[in-house]
Amino acid sequence: MEYFLQQAINGITLGAIYGLVAIGYTMVYGIIGMINFAHGEIYMIGAFVAVIAFSILAMFGIANVPLAILIVLAVAVIFTSAYGWTVERIAYRPLRGSFRLAPLISAIGMSIFLQNYVQVLQGARVKPLQPVVTGGLTIMRSDHFTVALSYIQILIILTTVVLMIGFSLLIARTALGRAQRACEQDLTMAALLGINVDRTISLTFVLGAGLAAVAGVMVTLYYGVVDFYIGFQAGLKAFAAAVLGGIGSLPGAMLGGLLIGLVEAFWAAYFTVEYKDLATFAILILVLIFRPTGLLGRPDVEKV
């Protein structure tokens, strides 16, 4: 029981991070119908900016932990969003309206580019970061096992919940959210009704990159190590999460992220660590076979 609870906590933490990245995939797919392959790299860049920012703060000796985290979050979100914007502007916008595979190949090219760009500039070695947030709560204690909820886990889960609420409000209530939903339904019609489609799509990429940056900061805090390759695996799983939850649906992305995180944690805990990724993809395939639109996705009608 204690073991189960501990794994559930670990799984939810991991799932929250996947969920944040998955939102970026799901929004972009919802609006322009393409798989933004470079999104995982954007998340990786967020993590690297976080490592650099934390190191600078440590050099200046800023010891106030909440302040440091806030500063790093702000810095990471700003710079990573700039990357998100640029990626869309350079690699995807010229190909909008082209045939379906063109932006996908360009996205794969962008992914290769960013991965190696970071490798060349920041080095191929793993970057270890001194733990910033330490300590935690003990929830339950039995003779042989202690269930612990570390402060960093609380931070990750709380941040994710706050961002999700904020984001749902943004989509539901603001002018930008309305514009995004309009674009999702019909790009041409939205343009005819006076929505600046280019701007809306750009902002979607910026928002997605911002969330990925937050996820990158969180993962840096959580694991304490970052390398240039983390974007690929995380991106793949986050995309799986987006598809699992129903692509185009925000709550779906979050739910999918949580499910993937839980599956991974439990599989690693009860079966084999080596095959945890296998379990993730197997579940993705099973869900797609029996519910092709994902758990919360709308069935889409194919029109002639």
């Binding site: 650099i52 962008m110 190696n116 760009y117 920041q122 001194q130 095959y275 296998l278 395939i285 797609l288």
Partner: protein, 428 residues
């Protein structure tokens, strides 16, 4: 152009360039300008602002040139695939094809060819064959497969395991490896081919990763991350390419009375993959004229119409998937035989992406385009060896640039499967 127009154009170009330079500055500041060094377990930040300055200046100059250059000079008029005059173009491509094949056949005996050239050419041909195999799935049937490398891996491991455990030779293993890869294609395709295009892409991607995970972790069977070594080399109809053949065997050089040279084996491998690739090509060209090939292309264009005409979409897609997988398996066998060593390292996602890039950059459905793209994608990084670590950065950038320059691929023209006879076309 009026006198006043020139300064405004410069001014607007300057504005654009300034904006781009500013964005470059923001992007470069954290990633180029700052980097961390691990010093005794503590990360220390170093600066590199001179690089940032260079980067920003390059972007400024580049954007200025792009904005100022007359637009007509830059982008060649895009010709719509359907409007290309059919006949003249056909002959050029046919000529190109024949020239390419003659060059390929003569390459090993040309005086300029050394071991390095033949090695690179063999790699190119592996990608050509993989590209042609994937072209059946992506180009003809319109199914986006991001996990093609899985079948390549199945073929390679089939050959390696069969040869090592049962002592079968290359020619016995080749059909078996193809069949096993096709079987995998069917097993995977059966449940997932009902899905829409993009989901299929992601499921195949997941499948590719799954195969790799199994290869890494099933130590006792696949050798795990260390891979499999000492895979037997293919022989020339039973004549091995060794200096000192075993008792009772005749080596290739002895049989033909030649001086022993390692080059013989390289040339033989080269001709082997050339033959395999040409078989793939011939197969594809022929099957396009069969009902099943026509059905693939029809499905790509309009699935609903196909259903209405009584074509079973799942079975039709399944055959495309299985046949594509089979050629992937053949190529995998060859790869294992050529390397003599395989490990999961060779079958990563990036490999799938490369093969897909070969197909899409070449122009989907274009056979000669695949050759062009494969040559480009293999030779570019080879040429870039001097740039060492920068070459993958350049590779990624080149992929984006080619896609933006020619979104439909280098040779964006698809042979129409059915062409009306000229007389009737004139009458219509």
């Amino acid at each position: 152009m009026t006198e006043a127009a020139v300064p405004t154009r410069i001014a607007s170009a300057m504005k654009e360039a300034g904006l781009a330079a500013f964005v470059a500055l923001v992007l470069a500041m954290p990633m180029v300008g700052l980097y961390t060094v691990d010093e005794g377990g503590v990360l220390v930040v170093r600066t590199r602002f001179d690089w940032v300055l260079i980067g920003v200046l390059v972007v400024f100059a580049g954007r200025l040139a792009m904005a100022y250059w007359p637009a007509t000079l830059r982008i060649p008029a895009r010709r719509d695939a359907a409007h290309v005059a059919a006949d003249g173009h056909f002959n050029i491509l046919k000529f190109l094809g024949i020239a390419a094949i003659s060059l390929a056949v003569l390459l090993p005996v040309l005086p300029v060819t050394d071991r390095y050239v033949i090695d690179v050419a063999t790699t190119v041909l592996i990608y050509v064959m993989l590209g042609w195999g994937l072209n059946i799935v992506v180009g003809l049937a319109g199914l986006l497969d991001l996990g093609y490398v899985a079948f390549y891996a199945v073929g390679a491991y089939s050959f390696a395991l069969l040869a090592r455990n049962f002592g079968l030779n290359f020619w016995e293993c080749l059909p078996l490896a193809g069949a096993l890869a096709a079987l995998c294609g069917i097993l995977l395709g059966f449940p997932v081919l009902r899905l829409r295009g993009d989901y299929l892409a992601i499921v195949t991607l997941g499948f590719g990763e799954m195969i790799r995970i199994v290869l890494i972790n099933w130590q006792s069977f696949t050798g795990g991350p260390n891979g499999l070594t000492s895979i037997p080399r293919p022989s020339f109809f039973g004549l091995p390419f060794t200096r000192n053949p075993e008792e009772g065997e005749t080596a290739f050089h002895q049989f033909f009375g030649l001086e022993f040279a390692p080059y013989h084996r390289l040339a033989f491998l080269y001709y082997l993959i050339l033959a395999l690739a040409l078989v793939t090509n011939a197969f594809t060209m022929r099957i396009r004229r069969l009902p099943i090939g026509r059905a693939w292309e029809a499905l790509r264009e309009d699935e609903i119409a196909c259903r209405a005409l009584g074509i079973n979409p799942t079975n039709t897609k399944l055959t495309a998937f299985a046949i594509g997988a089979m050629f992937g398996g053949f190529a995998g066998s060859f790869f294992a035989a050529r390397q003599g060593f395989i490990s999961p390292e060779s079958f990563t996602f990036i490999e799938s992406a490369m093969i897909l890039a070969v197909v899409v950059l070449g122009g989907m459905g274009s056979q000669i385009g695949v050759v062009l793209a494969a040559t480009l994608l293999v030779v570019l990084p080879e040429l870039g060896r001097e740039f060492a670590e920068f070459r993958m950065v350049l590779f990624g950038a080149a992929m984006i640039a080619i896609m933006i320059w020619r979104p439909h691929g280098l040779l964006a023209r698809r042979d129409p499967s059915i062409v009306l006879p000229p007389a009737r076309r004139g009458a219509a």
